[in-house]
């Protein structure tokens, strides 16, 4: 007998993600507190009108992306002094930045995202991040996902609390996570549909065999909590098998399967089209911890940025009209040192850049107060300082886009007074 292992490894520090064979693979609800999305529940929900269709998608770049080489402050001479071989040239053209506003420019590998900047649905908040000083991936990711920097015992993630804070009943699962395990950001009381990738995920499990299922049905036919959970689980599994069959059909008859992040973007967009009850979605990408040989316009970081931009563009176009009701946030636990190190890389830093994309975003603008890169202005004389707490742009999205009131946002980000000074226009209501 064989056991089947996932081909996917999501290494939070250094490993790149390999997500081949994804579209043809099935999914499986896994992990604690996880049930399958109700793919048949959409009919009733779709009647409720536009308000119920607003959603946010969070893309977490695990490993700390180098924000100074994503949205490059090409108007800062200090940037070029600090990065003799890593800096992206100020002039456009081959190997140079794609100018955004005369001061900031986009990494050339991110060209696929430029149409969204031009149609003003892509914005950035620079010098943004978590106020906690930690430079540990583990702690910083933990804080950014719990939404409570400095407090380790928070049991749930802020994205789960968003669901709980939304008004009304929550008749079906409204959150979706792509990845092998339930991420911290989505852990909590509200049910999550988790879709692991790879070979482990496509296998049916013993409970799917009719002879097994029928036998256990007789053990759990009551109204007690165990029987209730059992019956919900059985219903979810049969829906899942339906999804599986449909995906196999689509994959067999459809276009060639794209690779990497594109696959996830594709899958995510299709699921959202099929099931408008999804209000929040999450996926994580690795490979950003560029301590060694980071590269400049080309090289390691560029090789990761290109698929990121491709995938985001793919997601935006695959969402179709749903893009108008979607805000995509791209976040990372902290930035990297302003100065390059002795290995052609950068080390763990502080401030970073946050991306916001989608119909409700007032894009074409780099938001946030720029603190400058002279030594005196750096955080601990080495890193980009933080002038915007990462919770502030997200709070704005929750209020203006998702329609939460201030006290609900207070439950998502407890003990954090919202400050929107330099980012007030970021999202339309």
């Amino acid at each position: 007998m064989k056991t089947f292992e996932s081909t996917l490894r999501l290494d939070q520090c250094s490993g790149a993600i390999s997500r081949r064979d994804f579209v043809k693979r099935a999914m499986m609800a896994a992990g604690c507190g996880v049930v399958l999305i109700g793919s048949n529940g959409w009919a009733a929900r779709a009647m409720e009108g536009d308000a119920s269709r607003k959603r946010i998608i969070v893309v977490f770049l695990r490993g700390a992306v180098d924000g100074l080489n994503v949205v490059v402050p090409h108007g800062e001479p200090a940037y070029y002094d600090a990065r003799p071989t890593l800096a992206i040239g100020a002039r456009g053209g081959e190997g140079g930045v794609i100018d955004l506003d005369g001061f900031f420019g986009l990494h050339p590998a991110l060209a696929p995202a430029m149409p969204y900047w031009k149609d003003k649905t892509l914005a950035f908040v620079h010098a943004c991040g978590s106020p906690d000083p930690t430079r540990s991936h583990f702690d910083a990711q933990d804080y950014m996902e719990s939404g409570t920097p400095g407090i380790k015992t928070t049991g749930d993630g802020w994205l789960n609390r968003v669901l709980a804070a939304m008004p009304g009943n929550h008749p079906s699962t409204e959150a979706l996570s792509l990845g092998p395990t339930l991420p911290r950001i989505l852990s909590g009381k509200m049910p999550i549909a988790n879709m692991p990738l790879g070979r482990a995920a496509q296998r049916p499990m013993p409970m799917d065999r009719p002879i097994v299922g029928v036998a256990f049905d007789r053990l759990y036919e009551g109204n007690d909590p165990l029987s209730q959970a059992y019956k919900d689980g059985r219903a979810s599994r049969s829906r899942l098998m339906g999804e599986l069959a449909q995906d196999m059909k689509e994959a067999d008859g459809g276009a060639p399967a794209p690779n990497g992040f594109n696959e996830d973007a594709d899958r995510l967009a299709r699921l959202i089209q099929r099931d408008p009850t999804i209000r929040v979605a999450f996926l994580a990408l690795g490979g950003w911890d560029t301590h060694v040989n980071q590269g400049a316009a080309t090289g390691q970081l560029a090789n990761h940025l290109k698929p990121l931009a491709d995938g985001l563009a793919h997601l935006a176009s695959a969402l179709g009209r749903s893009y108008d009701d979607t805000v995509i946030l791209v976040i990372s636990e902290f930035g990297r040192t302003m100065r390059q190190n002795g290995n052609g890389g950068t080390d763990h830093g502080h401030g970073n850049v946050m991306w916001l994309m989608g119909g409700p975003v007032r894009g074409g603008h780099v938001y946030g107060r720029w603190p400058g890169l002279s030594t005196a202005n750096l955080y601990q004389e080495r890193d980009l300082a933080i002038t915007t707490d990462f919770r502030d742009p997200i709070s704005l999205v929750l209020m203006r886009h998702m329609g939460l009131d201030a006290s609900s946002v207070g439950r998502v980000f407890p003990n954090h007074p919202i400050s929107t000074g330099s980012i007030g226009n970021l999202v339309s209501g």
């Binding site: 007998m1 064989k2 056991t3 089947f4 292992e5 996932s6 490894r9 290494d11 939070q12 520090c13 609800a29 896994a30 992990g31 604690c32 507190g33 996880v34 049930v35 430079r135 540990s136 583990f138 702690d139 933990d142 380790k152 015992t153 928070t154 049991g155 092998p180 395990t181 339930l182 911290r184 692991p196 790879g198 070979r199 482990a200 995920a201 296998r203 049916p204 499990m205 013993p206 409970m207 799917d208 065999r209 002879i211 097994v212 036998a215 256990f216 007789r218 053990l219 759990y220 007690d224 165990l226 959970a229 059992y230 019956k231 919900d232 689980g233 059985r234 219903a235 979810s236 290995n343």
Partner: protein, 450 residues
């Protein structure tokens, strides 16, 4: 147990043998890097295997249950930095010897172990202006959790000022600097990895929970551990945790109160507190009979014990706990895993548990397969890695039993469970095909509870 070599190594020896090659390989080729990381997996693999083996076959079951309880109480996460080296050692040397002894000894052992010092950052905690870089300034993490989780409890009557003061008391309480762990010809280091750095300690006189703490260095920390372990809030907090674990999700208050009194009367004797609990009328009250929904860990362990399988390959068990959201050494947060029904009962978990029960009960888990691959290399899938992730293992789905384990004997399982089934359950089992009987006993509502 003696075959688990890494279990008996000191923290410094573990660093030298497993972490140094990882660091040395930083700039080496992919294969070298990968090999160094694979080699280091031996530690978590052996730690998890040893835990499972003793939980399944150990003759002193209360000792095994208490080890799991206290490890979880003082949780450390193998996926945070250097903790992958030291988590198993933490369980073996800081937890296991003290599970039924005095709480003060347990607290002291956890406080000095490198896994805890690293996990909650106290190794970096430094008096203001005494250290540079990562040793710059006060770090409150351990101070806070020491009171909130390990001793007094969140409502234990301390203030933020107490947290800050305790952090100052704990300055310099840390590790041999990782770069120096190998020692040098003239620099022998403590093999435990513990090092108190007076240069980074704040020697001022402090007031903590109304006690005056004179600036003596290590003596201050021993003094505050005494204060914390004898505090009435600690007695209440620990008694509640124990009663919740053993009796009910919402444990009866009179029982908790008697346990707390016993704790204070015996200066924190864990065995005495347990005896009070086991002797209490509440413990045998039918209201609390089978009142606890098993955690994934308890469910997996008790299932294997019921079948009497002679496990040689532990990966399917570690992998199932991972699938169920409770990987051993894989809990990120310092408060450990919950043990309540609310935390663990959900639709997906039921499907997973019953799939596991079916695979085990029909003889389809490769539990008696060789532990290693045919070429002698270890297979680490399902075990927690140094970044805290384990590779997923699906529960095998096949109807060809008996290839990698003996098919459990339904009569034996029934005997082990001792007629615990309701008439409805018995009826459903009898109505099912004979080859499903053992699986259904393991998957019965009665067996989900303890």
């Amino acid at each position: 147990m003696s075959s688990y070599r890494t279990l008996h190594m000191t923290p410094v020896a573990l660093f030298v043998e497993f972490e140094r090659p990882i660091r040395a390989a930083q700039k080496a080729d992919r294969e070298t890097k990968k090999q160094a990381r694979l080699d280091a997996m031996q530690i978590n693999r052996e730690g998890v295997e040893a835990r499972l083996l003793r939980a399944i076959e150990g003759p002193r079951q209360l000792q095994e249950v208490m080890t799991a309880f206290w490890f979880n109480h003082f949780n450390v996460f193998a996926g945070k930095g250097l903790c992958h080296l030291w988590t198993a050692s933490f369980e073996e040397t800081a937890i296991r010897p003290h599970t039924m002894g005095r709480f003060r000894d347990l607290l002291g052992a956890t406080a000095r172990h490198p896994a805890m010092l690293f996990y909650l950052d106290n190794w970096q905690n430094s008096a203001p202006a005494s250290g540079k870089g990562r040793f710059e300034g006060i770090n409150e993490n351990y101070a806070r959790e020491l009171m909130e989780l390990h001793t007094l409890g969140v409502n234990g009557g301390y203030t933020q000022q107490d947290v800050t003061t305790l952090a100052h008391i704990l300055t310099g309480w840390g590790l041999v600097k990782p770069g120096k762990m190998g020692g040098g010809r003239f620099r022998p280091v403590d093999p435990s990895g513990f090092y108190f750095d007076p240069e980074r300690h704040d020697f001022a006189t402090k007031t903590f929970l109304s006690h005056t703490i004179r600036g003596t260095g290590v003596g201050e920390i021993e003094q505050v551990l005494d204060i914390l372990s004898r505090h009435p809030s600690t007695a209440r907090h620990l008694s509640y945790q124990l009663a919740q674990y053993f009796v009910a999700d919402a444990p009866p208050q009179p029982l908790v109160d008697r346990m707390a009194q016993r704790y204070l009367a015996t200066d924190g004797d864990i065995r005495a507190v347990l005896t009070t609990m086991f002797d209490g009328p509440e413990f045998f009250d039918p209201r609390y009979y089978r009142a606890k929904f098993k955690t994934p860990y308890e469910y997996v362990i008790s299932s294997v014990r019921a079948t009497g399988t002679n496990v040689t390959n532990f990966r399917p068990l570690a992998g199932t706990m991972q699938l169920l959201g409770m990987p051993i050494y894989g809990c990120l947060t310092p408060n450990g895993y919950s043990n309540t029904q609310e935390a663990w009962l959900n639709p997906d978990a039921m499907m997973m548990r019953l799939s596991f029960a079916t695979a085990l009960g029909t003889g389809n888990l490769p539990l008696e397969a060789p532990q290693f691959e045919a070429d002698g290399t270890p297979n680490n899938r399902g075990y927690v890695t140094r970044t805290g992730k384990a590779r997923m293992i699906a529960i095998p789905d096949t109807d060809r039993p008996g290839r990698k384990m003996e098919v459990p004997d339904a009569a034996r399982v029934a005997m082990t469970l001792g007629g615990a089934f309701s008439p409805a359950t018995s009826g459903a089992i009898e109505a099912a095909p004979a080859n499903m009987h053992a699986a259904m006993m393991l998957g019965s509502p009665e067996f989900m509870m303890r």
